[in-house]
Symmetry: C2
Subunit: 116 residues, 2 copies
């Protein structure tokens, strides 16, 4: 069936009304995982180091366990490493997006089929 | 169980990448239904008449059937009336929000319980 209407939704995990995780933040975490550095991740995200670092600080402050460990000095100054918990967060969020996407597809069938 | 983390998501129905319906638009339609006028609805929404009218025009243009009929002249100049299809759209969207809310609650149980 041709389905021109689509349902979309941006997921966000909040705590006390503050954003904890959304797609952008998870993308930043993935870049830190990939490059081992908050600085390189900020460049990949086309944001300033300050912006990236502010997000990382907020994440760590809200999180029940540390998400990113900052590594000072050394040849890789400004380095950052995800904790095992941070790595698990990425996987959990991706799984959530996948499940939610499946759900939206079924919602499209049920709801949108009524009016197109 | 104490659940400090919450999942939220803003639903939107799109067509070819253009927004057709979201919570704000449905709120506007509800005000038109209530007051019988695009002008009064725009005031309730704290937007200009021009903004409200632009949304109504877009809705009608994207929709397979007219959503709002504009009524010119008379004592109630600038009036607007929802078509039966427009009324159905409101109900369908509300139902979608309700179902989706139930789903997000179950997703919270499944996903967030892993990391809090």
């Amino acid at each position: 069936m041709y389905q021109p209407f689509k349902i979309s939704a941006k997921l966000e995990i909040n705590k006390n009304g503050n954003c904890f995780l959304d797609e952008k933040r998870v993308e930043l975490l993935k870049h830190i995982r990939q490059g081992g550095s908050i600085l390189s991740a900020s460049k990949e995200m086309k944001m300033s180091y300050q912006q990236a670092w502010t997000i990382v600080k907020q994440l760590n402050a809200i999180s029940p366990l540390p998400v990113v460990i900052r590594q000072r000095g050394g040849s890789n100054g400004g380095g950052g490493m995800l904790t095992p918990f941070g790595l698990k967060l990425i996987d959990s969020f991706d799984e959530m997006i996948r499940l939610h996407g499946d759900y939206l597809s079924s919602l499209e069938e049920n709801i949108l089929s009524c009016f197109i």
